[in-house]
């Protein structure tokens, strides 16, 4: 008896909780409205099923509770009823799967005009790389990583010379331009996650992964790591600031290229170790 009432109250409570909860998706700041749509469709279908099934449960418990003289109905199965329920479930499932797959199709189809940005992860910080004027990111490999070459750019690849390297965790992106984020990890798994963008993807050492996004709202958003990466996992933060195209271009022009950083490093080494520049020659290994 009490259990029927409480199950019904739990359903009611869940609905109220949903309505008054201060915790809901952050305001969308990218093109991924389709993901939100798929989520909302799924939520609605599931909510209807949740309410209907549990209210039926509560009603059945109340209506058929044991009383003297009551005998249970004998009915081993009801194929027609079960078929009908299967059909309706199938329709519900298809109804949520369709928008889900449509959004996924968009997610894996990178537009041709997307510009490249590379995010690199290591325990526990972010770094970024933009292609230079040639629009191509130079080859890179962890085997080339040295203190002077933290991105592991191949010293032999001319495309890498003009790459713009951001050694801080703060990056800027232009508003309303599609961006293909290439993700590369130097050590363990990480995950590039900006809640307001909805999109995320793991960084996997050994391969380059990617996702794409078009930021649609100016502002500063936090980057979190969403794949456990060791004791500093919770502190692996960064920010992405979405600015107008012009501001972005100006900002990017101020950032150092690989060649400039190399020259800097050489200067430093020259100052520190006399004339012995071979010690920092970017030969990798």
């Amino acid at each position: 008896m009490a259990v029927a009432v409480i199950i019904a109250l739990l359903v009611l409570g869940s609905i109220i909780f949903h309505l008054v909860s201060p915790w809901w998706q952050t305001p969308l700041a990218s093109n991924w409205g389709s993901i939100d749509t798929a989520l909302h469709v799924t939520l609605w279908i599931c909510a209807i099923a949740f309410v209907a099934l549990n209210l039926f449960l509560a009603w059945a418990i109340y209506r058929y509770r044991h009383r003297p003289g009551i005998v249970a109905h004998y009915e081993p199965e009801n194929a027609r009823l079960e078929k009908r329920l299967t059909l309706w479930t199938g329709i519900g499932i298809a109804g949520m799967l369709a928008p889900g797959l449509i959004a996924w199709h968009e997610y894996v189809t990178v537009p041709a005009n997307a510009s490249l940005v590379e995010a690199t992860g290591q325990q526990w910080q972010w770094g970024f790389r933009f292609p230079g004027r040639d629009g191509v990111l130079g080859a890179a490999n962890v085997r080339h990583i040295t203190p002077e070459n933290p991105f592991g750019l191949s010293p032999r690849d001319p495309h890498g010379r003009d790459d713009i390297l951001i050694e801080s965790a703060d990056v800027r992106l232009p508003v309303d331009r599609p961006v293909k984020m290439l993700l590369r990890s130097k050590d363990v798994l990480h995950d590039f996650y900006v809640p307001q963008f909805r999109a995320k993807m793991d960084l996997v050492p050994g391969i380059v992964t990617y996702f794409w996004v078009t930021p649609t709202k100016r502002g500063t958003y936090e980057i979190l790591c969403a794949e456990l990466c060791g004791t500093g996992h919770h502190m692996m933060r960064g920010t992405v600031t979405v600015v107008s195209g012009a501001e972005f271009d100006a900002w990017l022009a101020e950032q150092p290229t690989y060649t400039e950083l190399l020259a800097d490093a050489r200067d430093r080494a020259t100052r520190l170790a006399g004339a012995d520049i071979s010690a920092v020659a970017p030969e990798g290994r």
Binding site: T89, L101, R143
Partner: protein, 581 residues
């Protein structure tokens, strides 16, 4: 067919004379079941304490100095691994499987009792190795229960030196032990059913345990291979999973390995594992509902088919754990579809449980309360699973608290509620005593309401985007202060629920000695395990003669019958239809 005599066959039953022979080196499936259960519950309590510690940190960050990020990650990892493998799998298959299979199919014991005993001792050894990892330098592994390389074996993760090695060894041992048991469960169901016990006369519990055992036998090798290969990587320096990396500024010697290969192997085990836990729970809850609603399980054939279909399909959905793992993104279409298809047989099971209650004669006893609690939490957890299976919806939600809330509802709370219900249900058979009903109800209500207030808010933190496995949320602009408040209240609820489990144990111990005598078949159940000549059943279960089964396990409230149930071993009355031969 040639006959065989082997050392551990059943004839004659060797009745042990000494206490040690009876309770320690026992060949009796019932004693082995209890050994399995008590060990699993003991290690499960460790995991419960770990979860409380972890919640203390999340609810009140910075208050407890002894919880540093290292410890926090170790709590998270060990809590998850213990609960999933060493508690749920061991308890549902090793515990309930062992106890129920021979009794429900009408056998005197497992087919190979010696192998069965060995299975328990290897399991115990696995648990001891696991416990040992708490005491080695560096402590247990803190790489998350998924043990993803490279981080589990590189610097920056607690326990990367010794803890992970012991973890992998322990898992390998567990798998060896389980394989011995699992072979027994499958063979016993296939070979040792008593006369008249056709496959379709078996109760749903046996179907669930049977299919889950087959799945486990096929899925655990994936974890075994993964564990061995990771041990090679860790100890011998091979590069199965380890690509070239720079760990803490130092180039490691590995080259070319694939972390994603590990993830495929892990989830090829890991997803069936979810159903290895769920299917026995599905089966058991079907029987609880049927007995206490005095009605046959609605659509028995559908229920059996659903178990078989779910078992088979669950080997084709593993990569839904990896939508954002960097695997080939085109896999997403296939795995999203297969995952949502598996929801259909699962939904049918839910409908049939509800339809079993419908037009029943519902006795709201404690086991049924837990079954109802299961229905509520499973409906909730099952539906949130659709979000995560629906590929693009998973993108914003993966690795957030939504996932934590989902899997705790669906494979933490739900099976645990079934386990409680099952213990309340079969305790009179196991011990011959009844529980205290008031304490049982108190335990139920605190547990159900408590877990819902723990896990419902977590889903909303997940919608917000709060990531999981964070030692502390810190200052994060999109996380409002109220979310920290939510964490506090979740922690308080978790502590209350954890503390409330003492009611259960107190009740169990009290009932063991002081509970009223249960007598024969106190619930009026039709299935065979309640029809033993002795309560509790003696060694050999059936007295001088094996039972003969004349009907299915669900003859409740049959029109025209004298009582509202007909035991499976009761011969048909004259008016009943006979087998068409």
């Amino acid at each position: 067919m040639a006959t065989v005599t082997i050392a551990d066959d059943l004839t004659p039953l060797h009745h042990p004379k000494t206490w040690i022979g009876k309770y320690v080196w026992s060949l009796d499936h019932k004693v082995i079941a209890i050994q399995y259960s008590l060990t699993a519950i003991a290690i499960g309590l460790v995991a419960l304490v770990l979860s409380a510690l972890m919640r203390l940190q999340l609810g009140f960050p910075g208050t407890f100095d002894f919880i540093q990020p290292e410890q926090y990650l170790q709590y998270v990892t060990m809590h998850g691994m213990i609960m999933v493998v060493y508690l749920l799998t061991a308890l549902l298959l090793g515990g309930f499987g062992n106890y129920l299979i021979p009794l429900m199919v009408g056998a005197r014991d497992m087919v190979f009792p010696f192998v069965n005993m060995l299975s328990y001792w290897v399991y115990l050894l696995a648990v001891l190795v696991l416990v040992a990892s708490f005491f080695v330098p560096g402590g247990p592994t803190g790489g998350g229960w998924t043990l993803y390389p490279p981080q589990t074996i590189t610097e920056g993760t607690p326990g990367h030196q010794y803890g992970i090695v012991l973890m992998l060894v322990s898992l390998a041992l567990f798998i060896v032990g389980f394989t011995m048991g699992g072979l027994n469960y499958v063979t016993t169901v296939l070979q040792a059913r008593c006369k008249g016990m056709t496959m379709m006369r078996m109760p749903c519990s046996i179907w669930g345990i049977f299919v889950a055992s087959i799945m486990a036998l096929l899925a655990f090798p994936a974890l075994f291979v993964a564990a061995i290969m990771m041990l090679f990587d860790r100890l011998a320096g091979t590069s199965f999973f380890m690509p070239a990396i720079v760990s803490m500024g130092q180039q490691l010697g590995h080259e070319g390995g694939s972390p994603i290969l590990f993830q495929h192997l892990f989830w090829f085990f890991g997803h069936p594992e979810v159903y290895i836990v769920a299917l026995p729970a599905f089966g058991i809850v079907s029987d609880l509902i049927s007995v206490h609603a005095r009605k046959n399980i609605f659509g028995y054939r559908m229920m059996v088919w659903a178990i078989v279909i779910i078992g088979a399909l669950s080997f084709f959905v593993w990569a839904h754990h990896m939508y954002v793992s960097g695997m080939n993104p085109y896999f997403g279409y296939f795995f999203a579809t297969s995952t949502l298809v598996i929801a259909i047989p699962t939904a049918i099971k839910v409908y049939n449980w509800l339809l079993t209650l419908w037009r029943g004669d519902i006795h709201l006893r404690v086991p049924l309360l837990f079954a109802i609690g299961f229905l509520f939490t499973f409906i909730h957890g099952g539906l949130t699973g659709l979000f995560l299976g629906n590929v693009s919806v998973d993108v914003p939600l993966s690795d957030t608290f939504f996932v934590v809330g989902h899997f705790h509802m669906v494979m933490g709370v739900s099976p645990i509620l079934v386990i409680f219900g099952a213990i309340y249900h079969w305790f009179p058979l196991i011990t011959g005593r009844m529980w205290n009903v008031t304490l049982g109800k108190l335990h139920f209500w605190i547990t159900l309401l408590g877990v819902y207030s723990i896990f419902l808010p977590m889903h909303y933190l997940g919608f917000l985007g709060v990531p999981r496995r964070y030692y502390a949320l810190g200052e994060t602009a999109f996380i409002p202060a109220s979310a920290h408040g939510a964490n506090e209240s979740i922690t308080i609820a978790a502590l209350i629920v954890a503390a409330a489990q003492t009611i259960f144990f107190a009740n169990m111990i009290w009932s063991l000695f002081r509970g009223p005598r249960a007598g024969h078949n106190p619930w009026g159940a039709a299935s065979l395990e309640w029809q033993t000549p002795d309560v509790p059943p003696a060694h050999g279960n059936w007295g001088p003669r094996l039972p003969v089964v004349y009907r299915w396990a669900y003859d409740y409230s049959v029109p025209g019958a004298a009582r509202d149930f007909i035991p499976q071993n009761e011969p048909p009355a004259d008016g009943e239809r006979h087998h068409p031969t």
